[in-house]
């Protein structure tokens, strides 16, 4: 086979060296050749078609940007709605009374609007949930990341994902019909509605979140660090506990924070299991009402629009939103930290 001496290489680019990542095959130059510059919109060179095409492109771009704007509108909407009605609420109830009051009886006379029982209810359940989810989730993450053989992992990981996907009403049902009766045999004084059962099932619900985020953080620890530790005569246990876990710490902490935030935002499981008694207590055997459960309770009833009971939904909602927002921001801050180190 002879090489045709008159043939020319295809990747001739009159505009300059072609930035072709496919290895120099290049593309034929045509009137419509364009160069890609990262991130900036561009138009083809000398246009063969009229302004119609450019207009169409602009229109499509604008339409798509509207879709991007929807998320901004959502956040704005949430904030505006919550604040607007809360302002109305706080005209009747001083903010200080709201935040520091210990009695919450908006649906009875005399009406009291101290939100602490709700806040403490949410926190109590979140704490119980964490006591379950943190050790179990972290242990699972360590096992899956450092110990488990590939086949075992391929089975266990999807099962944990399934746990995460089960709707909260199902957990609530289970807490009410199974967990509470079982616990009542063991713990004297446990109410039919109690914070403990709710906390337990919420804990199982958030366990997969901690497990998978922590495992991601551990997987991101470079192999070289592990090898360095093994080369010094470490056992697998020491590598896992003294090298990998400390190195993955910010990701692990992030998973805790985000999981607790989810626990606070949990609704149906606590409504079914913990009941609707807004009392300020730290006793897990008692029934409590969380911020989320209160909001549901009001919605289930017949509350006239514009009444103070109606407005109280928004005030409580605002508090809930701010608490979870702060936690999410912190949590994601930690996530970014570990991603920076090992990216």
């Amino acid at each position: 086979m002879t090489i045709d001496p008159t043939s020319r290489p295809v990747n001739v680019d009159p505009d300059g060296p072609s930035r072709d990542p496919d290895g120099g095959r290049g593309v034929a130059t045509a009137a419509g050749q364009a160069r890609v510059v990262a991130g900036a919109p561009h138009e083809p060179g000398p246009r063969l078609t009229g302004a119609g095409r450019a207009l169409k492109e602009r229109a499509i771009g604008a339409l798509l940007s509207l879709a991007g704007a929807v998320s901004i509108l959502t956040t704005v909407g949430i904030v505006v709605v919550l604040v607007w009605e809360s302002v109305g609420f706080f005209r009747h109830v001083p903010v200080r009374d709201f935040l520091t009051g210990t009695v919450w009886t908006p649906l009875f006379q005399p009406q009291h609007f101290g939100v602490l029982p709700l806040l403490v209810g949410s926190v109590l359940i979140a704490v119980i949930a964490s006591l379950i989810a943190v050790p179990l989730g972290l242990g699972a993450a360590i096992y899956l990341s450092e110990y488990s053989p590939r086949r075992v992992r391929a089975v266990l990981k999807p099962i944990l994902e399934i746990l995460a996907g089960i709707p909260t009403v199902v957990y609530g049902y289970f807490a009410l019909t199974f967990v509470t009766p079982v616990l009542r045999h063991v713990i004297p004084g446990l109410g039919i509605f109690n914070a403990l059962s709710a906390g337990i099932v919420v804990g199982i619900m958030i366990l997969p979140l901690i497990a998978s985020l922590s495992e991601d953080a551990m997987a991101a620890v470079p192999r070289e660090l592990r090898q360095g530790a093994y080369a010094l005569g470490s056992t697998r246990f020491e590598v896992a506990t003294r090298v990998v876990t400390p190195a993955a710490l910010s990701g692990i902490v992030a998973s805790f924070i985000l999981a607790v935030s989810r626990a606070i935002g949990e609704t149906m499981a606590v409504v079914l299991a913990a009941g609707m008694t807004p009392q300020l207590t730290f006793d897990p055997r008692e029934s409590v009402q969380t911020m989320t459960a209160y909001i549901v309770q009001v919605s289930l009833g017949d509350t006239p629009f514009g009444s103070i009971e109606y407005q109280s939904i928004f005030a409580v909602g605002l508090l809930l939103f701010m608490v979870t927002l702060v936690m999410n921001i912190f949590g994601r801050g930690f996530l970014n930290r570990y991603r920076e180190v090992y990216a």
Partner: protein
């Protein structure tokens, strides 16, 4: 080999001790992993025991009733299917459009990173807050358009809720499409939209679909926001249009589970089984799709 140095490299006593700790630790970690699995198993078995016997034909054709033996999930099931359909119609195009915008069109400036952070935040907002938003905006403010406490309002609210999930999954899928394909397209004189439409989207579609299905499987279990929107807990009819009142399976489950009588507990369990079967099918489809269309770049 001399006997004195025979065992030089075998395990010295302190290493034996360290190894024992390691073994115990490994078992503890295995135990923690298994607890979740065991819990799941117990939960599923318990629900099956409670509810399997109640999955009769009438269960699917009847409406809720005060008499347990005559109660059924027809309106709730219909409402759920209506809701899922509308959410898919609304959230999917919107989510894909936003993902395309963020990945292909938006300049990498501060506005774009604000939008990204915002989406990540929205993903973490409790679902009941979305319910509050939906109540104020779709039920009240847009009453004329949505018909108030209708399945359309519910679908709009739930769409907003799952939108961040679809957008994030969509962005990942789009990002996974290699830059070389785009460059080839642009090099041939294609416009940005043509490149997106003919190259990026088709290649990203499996990932986007998987993400959408997962978002829908989250939506199917949502309860609290819909309660807030007034999805009624006792209706006997099937929605006939988007502006009709409605209820959904999770709310029906909640309703029945809240009643003290045993038979209603059984009904709740049976409804849960139906819900879980729906959920399982959706996830199975998502996994199948992910495996079938997985491309090795």
């Amino acid at each position: 080999m001399s006997d004195a140095s025979e065992r030089l490299l075998s395990t010295p006593p302190d290493l034996v001790r360290r190894r024992r700790w390691g073994r115990a630790f490994e078992l503890v970690c295995l135990g923690t992993t298994v607890v979740g699995v065991v819990f799941l198993a117990i939960m599923l078995v318990d629900i099956l025991i409670d509810g399997a016997g109640w999955l009769t034909g009438t269960f699917f054709t009847e409406s809720p009733s005060r008499i347990p033996s005559r109660a059924g999930i027809k309106p709730a099931l219909a409402g759920t299917l209506w809701l899922m359909g509308l959410v898919a119609l609304i959230a999917f195009p919107l989510g894909v459009a936003a993902a395309v915008y963020l990945e292909e069109y938006a300049a990498r400036n501060w506005i774009q990173s604000v939008i990204q952070t915002n989406i990540a935040n929205l993903a973490g907002v409790p679902s009941i807050v979305y319910g509050i938003l939906g109540l104020a905006v779709f039920v009240r403010w847009m009453f004329a358009l949505t018909g108030g406490r209708s399945v359309l309002s519910g679908a709009l609210t739930i769409s907003l809720l799952v939108l961040p999930v679809i957008i994030i999954a969509g962005q990942e899928a789009i990002r996974a499409v290699p830059g070389s394909i785009r460059e080839a397209s642009y090099g041939l004189g294609a416009t940005r939209w043509q490149t997106v439409r003919h190259h990026v989207l088709p290649n990203a579609l499996p990932g986007i679909m998987t993400g959408t299905i997962l978002a829908l499987s989250r939506a199917i279990g949502e309860t609290a926001p819909l309660i807030m929107m007034g999805a009624l807990t006792f209706i006997a009819f099937v929605p006939e249009g988007p502006r009709d009142a409605f209820t959904v399976l999770p709310i029906q489950i909640f309703n029945w589970a809240s009643r003290p009588q045993d038979e209603f507990r059984n009904l709740a369990a049976a409804a849960i089984i139906v819900l879980l079967v729906l959920l399982l099918s959706m996830n199975a489809v998502a996994i199948w799709m992910r495996n079938k269309y997985r491309k090795e770049w």
